[in-house]
């Protein structure tokens, strides 16, 4: 159990998991309309231990373990939001969210528009995503791209400790449904918690590493390998700019295009499968809005189009790696990787 940390603005070191838990605790404490609902979020303390201790602190009414009924409890979240509450529904992983896709798409995302503006759905849905932990094909999907296809919802991908700590507040304040994707391999990541999270927004991308020669665009679980690639490129005398998308819908076109207009080259790194991926959308927008600024085709580095294998060496081979990102970046600069 982690004691409540005193955030006196001093730079803390914490983990992504603890940052998300503190965010949940603040939300439950500050607004009695907020409650957490999901499989094993209470007694078990959360499949990834994010909600550990919250049941003991806030009680079974506000930290509700649910039966394995994704459609029912996600739909119940929608209904409760319509009923004036501020539910946070945790779907254990994006892989199980497929069972609730009908409620998310046909109800949560659609009600406001279809009702002519009468019924908004102030709901937050959190789910763990991504591969890299040898959980094999059915537990390793990266489907953020699917959800970013749906008008009516917002989609967030906190990749840093500050975003994990800061994004929940604005998401709960948003009158419309917000989906937060937490990459499974980030929970144990530890790092500085600057004060930035207090003014965290859910509208803009962020330049994590400024550069002049090529723009590397990525989000969530692949920010790490992309920053590693940028360091490797620096040895080759190529100064890469790394843009963390942070908000996958609506995409922050301004920041993306501003960067590409400066570097004239772009590589999009996306753990989803290449075909019809989020990377395809980002690439299309760069082609549409920065075509005349390009000195090379936009490159995409995505997961291999295979059901994610269990064996570690196969899984690593399937996932976007720094070497592939470096090669792509070099191609755009005209030095064949």
């Amino acid at each position: 159990m982690t004691a409540v940390r005193e955030e006196a603005g001093a730079v803390d070191t914490t983990t992504y998991r603890d940052a998300m838990r503190d965010a949940l605790r603040d939300a439950l404490r500050d607004d009695e309309r907020v409650f957490l609902m999901g499989e094993d979020v209470g007694r078990y303390g959360g499949c990834f231990a994010v909600s550990m201790g919250l049941l003991e602190e806030f009680g079974p009414e506000r930290v509700r373990d649910t039966p394995l009924s994704e459609s029912a409890f996600v739909g119940a979240g929608i209904g409760a939001a319509l009923g004036g509450l501020r539910p946070i529904v945790e779907i254990m992983t994006v892989n199980f969210s497929l069972l609730a896709l009908d409620q998310i798409m046909n109800n949560a995302a659609t009600l406001l528009h279809m009702s002519g503006g009468q019924f908004n759905v102030p709901l937050v849905i959190r789910m763990t995503t991504g591969a890299g932990r040898q959980l094999a094909a059915q537990h390793s999907h990266s489907l953020e791209g699917w959800y970013t296809h749906i008008p009516g919802i917002k989609v967030l991908a906190p990749a840093t400790i500050d975003d994990a700590r800061g994004m929940l507040r604005p998401a709960l304040d948003d009158p419309d449904p917000v989906l937060i994707f937490e990459h499974g391999s980030l929970y144990n990541a530890s790092g500085p918690l600057t004060g930035e999270w207090r003014t965290c927004d859910i509208a803009h991308a962020a330049v994590r590493r400024p550069g002049d020669d090529v723009t590397l665009l990525t989000y969530g679980g692949t920010l790490g390998v992309t920053l590693d690639a940028a360091e490797a490129l620096a040895q080759h005398g190529i100064d890469a700019e790394v843009v963390d998308l942070r908000v996958l819908r609506p995409l922050d076109d301004a920041t993306i295009i501003d960067s590409v207009a400066r570097t004239h080259r772009a590589v999009v790194v996306d753990e989803g499968w290449r075909t019809l991926s989020l990377a395809a959308e980002v690439s299309a927008r760069i082609m549409e809005q920065a075509f005349w600024e390009l000195d090379a085709p936009v490159e995409r580095v995505c997961s291999a189009e295979v059901p994610m294998p269990y064996a570690r060496h196969l899984e690593q081979a399937a996932l976007p790696q720094p070497a592939a990102i470096v090669a792509a970046a070099r191609r755009t600069v005209g030095r064949d990787g």
Partner: protein, 327 residues
């Protein structure tokens, strides 16, 4: 099956029930004409034959309660208090419609009456209904959420997930299953191993009563008792309202799945005629004429209103994809 003894019906009570049922019946009949004239488009599902259910259940609800219905919803909307004008305008696809012309026959919405709409996904409304009830429970409000669905929904996973969750968390929801024996073209006996829907419901530890859906008084009293129990913390209740639709599933339906005789057989228990017989001596011919004239006037007015409606400006196409003026 709970039916009401033949206790006498007061005049006012009789007139009110008759007016409600006739309003729905004539509204639906007029819609058939309008649809064949292509003034109403898309899909349209009629409630003719089942009017007694909406009439009976709506009278058990208060303005604070909530209603979640399905695509066969004109009757529920009208009797919940959504104006005939707004419903007709919606089917004419004009901005004066209760959903700005964006929903059509299957997606009527009205915040004022907490009418959370038609849902065109079979069983799709159940999770929303238990959610509304969950909010009431957590906020400690003595309110009921009435959730309408057909017997077809019983085959959906969401039915089982929601019955269990509602019972598990003792949520204040009134499940109203309108069992009209056919899910589009599939008879109940050809889709469910156990066809006694009320019996199914009891397996989730939810009080469940079969009700003669053609007897408006039976529906009214059962709904009143159930709603009262739900409102006072008795947990979810389930009504299996046995009924029959006199017309096709929708406007395009050759009805190859049932015989004309069967339809004629059920028409002999037309809920309006059935109730009118009960009101002998309490209600007379002139009352019926008055009701018919009032209803005809209401429908003509609704059509005129819808005809005078204007299409939603194209520039508003993307309005309300997200909330306006949001932070």
């Amino acid at each position: 099956m709970s039916t009401v003894t033949d206790a006498p019906v007061t005049r006012d009570h009789a007139l009110a029930l008759l007016r409600d049922m006739v309003r729905v019946r004539r509204f639906e009949e007029r819609c058939v004409e309008l649809y064949s004239e292509a003034r109403i488009r898309g899909f349209m599902h009629l409630y003719i034959g089942e009017e007694a259910i909406a009439t009976g259940v709506m009278r058990a609800l208060t303005p604070d309660d909530a209603v979640v219905a399905t695509y066969r919803e004109h009757g529920h909307a009208l009797l919940r208090g959504v104006a005939a004008r707004a419903v007709m305008a919606e089917m004419f696809g004009v901005v004066e419609g209760c959903s700005r012309g964006r929903g059509g026959s299957m997606h009527l919405f009205d915040a004022a009456t907490r009418f959370y709409g038609g849902n065109a996904i079979v069983g799709g409304g159940l999770p929303i209904a238990i959610g509304l009830a969950l909010a009431d429970r957590l906020a400690g409000r003595a309110r009921v959420t009435a959730c309408f669905f057909g017997e077809g929904a019983v085959a959906e996973g969401e039915f089982h997930e929601c019955m269990n969750l509602a019972a598990l968390w003792q949520l204040p929801v009134l499940f109203c299953c309108e069992n009209n024996l056919y899910a589009m073209g599939t008879a109940l006996s050809r889709s469910e191993s156990e066809t006694d829907v009320a019996l199914k419901a009891t397996s989730y530890e939810v009080p469940a009563w079969p009700v003669d859906g053609m007897d408006v008084l039976a529906v009214e009293s059962a709904a009143a008792r159930a709603a009262d129990a739900v409102r006072n913390g008795g947990g979810p209740h389930f009504l299996e309202l046995r009924t029959y639709r006199f017309r096709a599933h929708s406007m395009y339906d050759p009805e190859r799945y049932r015989s004309k005789d069967e339809v004629e057989e059920w028409k002999r228990r037309d809920p309006i005629a059935l109730f009118l017989a009960r009101c002998d001596g309490v209600v007379d011919e002139t009352d019926m004429t008055t009701i018919e004239e009032d209803v005809a006037a209401e429908i003509d007015d609704a059509i005129a209103f819808a005809d005078a409606g204007s299409p939603e400006p194209i520039e508003d196409l993307t309005r309300f994809v997200y909330s306006e003026g949001a932070a």
